[in-house]
Symmetry: C2
Subunit: 508 residues, 2 copies
């Protein structure tokens, strides 16, 4: 017989408040998605007012004194002891967010929301015109607002620096120093691999890769079927739209991705679709029992990226995946692609200018560049006016490339226009976490690649759901990695994965 | 020299509150649009929770005691006298809404919002399956909730009946009795015209009307250009999507329409696009100075319909419009349509089962049917279980038609699934208002049809903007009609328009 402990009323009320906040957050999400995909251009001003209002309502609800009283009540010893691990974590997550938010003035929240909509819009136009001077005033406002926010957060979080305070929102408990250490190791290893590839003498041939947008949409549908991302059935929980910059947005039963189809390159949409679906199936497959609870969301941005980059790269650029998937492509296009040439082509290691088109090896250097610039921006060493020069010289130094204009340089990503300072490191951390998770999966399923070559990862998906999706936000990212792999965060497994894979391709 | 009276602070604060409510309402609008056009089906439950929360937030803000105090302050004699006509009207509209809303419990508002999302979803499925028994339980809940709401509104509005209370939300100050009188006159007149057409001996030939969806989308774009509904420029404020049931949704800079393309019938999307664009350009062209003010919105649902049905019918089914527009259709399709046959075909008078496909003459009978049923539902004479029989017998009696299943009968429209009881009469009132406005326009521009045959209604549009759009909600609908035409609401101008037009076509 099991005696269920009943939960204190204050806990139930607190979670009811959290449910409303979560719903409101999901409304903001859908409105953001609409802004990027569907909204008529004239509506920018209206939308920025709508978003500011929603942010302000969210902020007021999230900082209401009622939540404070409920937190005090539920954290009394007698009450708190009645809670299980997950309930305790819920309370802690609400407390963290409440403590932080109550220090942030509503006006600042509204300003940031309003400025985001305006600044993204200007960035789009400036990028089209290759005119950084057009974007700079908006970027300056963003940096200024983010600094104001970081100053407040730094105190509440007891962080050592402004940038530390920002990083914690994306990768809880990580610090600038810890990232610098990890990235320094990563950079050294990547440079070795890149130089081995460059010196291998292997020339990668261009291949045919044009197909109609219609054919590419069919391919995206097939990829969705493979990934278990339902966009067609009567119970579909997703959809694919087009934006210049692919992204994923959603919550549980409504998780949407975007991609970009280029007629002259089917691989752009193939890999971006896989990437975004990695995000989407994570969000969709979190335990429904945890819906509307703080723990019922993704662990961190880095863990999120581990999922997207696992699907995009470790799966999507593997021989086994293409063994299974290539016939699909040949069936809806006239390409008649050759397996060996294709594999070499999609795994070509070559410094390039655009992050989202970078290969698995050089990708990390794009992130390290951004990390260093953000760190120096928030320590006061760099201002918006310095960015193009610093960007270009780092691309020269790390990747050996001449950046010709700011649209292929400092303005290529939407993050800074969207006020998402502190996000970038999560991409490289995602690769690193992914390497460690892959190690654990390899142990559990030594033959998983055989399953992949049949297009059937059912068993592996159950493992991923149990270990990653269902652990959602119950742990901080470093603890989750420890739980799954038994080890602390470490660069080696990812580097070893790269060495093994690219060593085989480039013969070193 | 002009001395500007400054406005009392309480007025400014009140309007600031109203701006937030308006923005929140526009968010609800976009979320509803998304639900009908883009949302993955699995998200129905999530969306119904989101909509309920938004309704509850709206309701709480709209009934906050602060608004009550500001209203009391601004209505003090010294303050109120400082206001001009528009400001006074703003205060009165806010007061009306506040007085009504403060009587409605938040729980009822949430229930209605949640139920709407669920019920629309069930209606769609039931309609597809032709299964009224599937829809009935949801409809019963809707009727029950609407009765509860109407009971409250009846007291505040000092209305004579539940249905009167509902009608006032769509057509301010109109009553069931007034509509019954107008509709009785209309019905008699329509029957005479229908019987003359039927007895004319004129047979309308079927014409070719199939075209690819792509071609139909091009036609929709051309119609948008004609109507001044911008969906393509960098400053576009609209867009066209596809839904089974066409609708318009939006506010000022973001007004979207939907249509339905049938490959075997280009006219369905042509007339529904024109209809919805009539709504859209009304919303888009209200004086920007009045944005976020209560007066800065459409006068009533009936006046709205006068605009949509003016563009769809009085313009869209006229010889002059087709003189201008037919070459466009012949240029993007292979139809090579003949002008005379086309005109006869799109003006064919013939009782039919589906309201939105009805001709200008029989249309009114569809509305009268719905009006009578709604009236009897809310007086307690009819329950949900009676509806199919009553519907079918009225269609037999008024239109001489045998309804074969409830999907072409009582379930054809979304209104009752969406809890929009009291909306239907506005469609017929729209025709009637439209007839009166046409009369006024004919006086001002006796040669406007010549302009139309050149596809250039610039002059007429300025007149419409000045008289209808810019008068927005400054007047109640009957007063607006009086202001524009100098006369009270009257059926004659519309009936005379029909007689003249169809007399010429059918030779009576």
């Amino acid at each position: 017989m099991i005696v269920m402990k009943s939960l204190p009323l204050s806990y139930k009320k607190l979670l009811e408040k959290n449910k409303k906040l979560t719903l409101l957050g999901s409304v903001q999400g859908t409105m953001s998605w609409d802004m990027e995909t569907m909204m008529p251009p004239r509506a920018v001003g209206l939308r920025s007012e709508q978003m500011a209002l929603l942010s302000s309502i969210f902020h007021k609800s999230a900082t209401s004194p009622e939540i404070g009283s409920l937190l005090a009540e539920v954290m009394k010893k007698g009450n708190f002891d009645m809670l299980g691990q997950i309930e305790k974590r819920n309370v802690e997550l609400i407390k963290k967010s409440y403590d932080e938010r109550t220090k942030i003035p509503t006006e600042l929240v509204e300003k940031i929301a309003k400025q985001r909509a305006v600044s993204v819009n200007v960035w789009k136009k400036a990028k089209k015109k290759q005119d950084y001077s057009m974007f700079r005033p908006e970027l300056e406002k963003n940096i200024d607002l983010s600094k104001k926010l970081a100053e407040i957060l730094m105190k509440v979080k007891d962080a050592k620096s402004l940038y530390d305070a920002l990083l914690d929102d994306y990768e809880p408990k990580i610090t600038t120093d810890a990232i610098a250490k990890i990235f320094s190791k990563l950079q050294n290893e990547l440079r070795v691999i890149i130089s081995k590839c460059e010196n291998s003498g292997i020339q990668v041939e261009e291949i045919k890769k044009s197909a109609s947008i219609d054919a590419q949409k069919k391919i995206a549908g097939m990829l969705a079927e493979f990934a278990g991302y339902d966009i067609t059935s009567d119970n579909a929980g997703g959809r694919i739209d087009e934006t210049e910059h692919p992204f994923t947005q959603g919550y549980f039963d409504d998780v949407r991705i975007t991609t970009h189809y280029y007629e002259n390159n089917i691989f752009s949409s193939i890999f971006s679709t896989l990437h975004e679906m990695g995000h989407a199936i994570y969000e969709q497959n979190i335990d429904q029992k945890l819906k509307y609870q703080p723990v019922g969301s993704a662990c961190s941005y880095g863990i999120h990226e581990s999922q997207s980059r696992f699907l995009e790269n470790m799966v999507g650029r593997s021989k086994e995946f293409w063994t299974f998937f290539l016939p699909n492509i040949n069936s809806v296009t006239c390409l008649d692609l050759d397996m060996e040439k294709l594999l070499l082509y999609v795994n070509r290691v070559r410094p390039s200018k655009i992050r989202i088109e970078a290969d698995e090896v050089t990708y990390g250097l794009h992130i390290i560049t951004r990390f260093e610039i953000e760190r120096d921006m928030f320590s006061g060493k760099l201002d918006a006016c310095d960015l193009p020069n610093v960007w270009n010289s780092k691309y020269k130094e790390y990747l050996g490339l001449e950046i010709k204009n700011d649209s292929e340089g400092v303005m290529q990503d939407m993050h800074w226009a969207s006020n998402l300072f502190g996000y970038f490191p999560s991409y490289a951390l995602g690769n690193i976490y992914g390497g460690q998770m892959l190690g654990a999966m390899n142990k559990k399923f030594p033959n998983w690649k055989e399953d992949l070559s049949k297009g059937d990862l059912t068993k592996e998906r159950i493992w991923i759901k149990k270990n990653i999706y269902d652990n959602c936000k119950i742990y901080d990212p470093a603890d989750l990695i420890k739980k799954i792999t038994g080890k602390p965060v470490s660069v080696e497994p990812f580097v070893n994965y790269l060495k093994k894979k690219f060593g085989a391709i480039y013969g070193f």
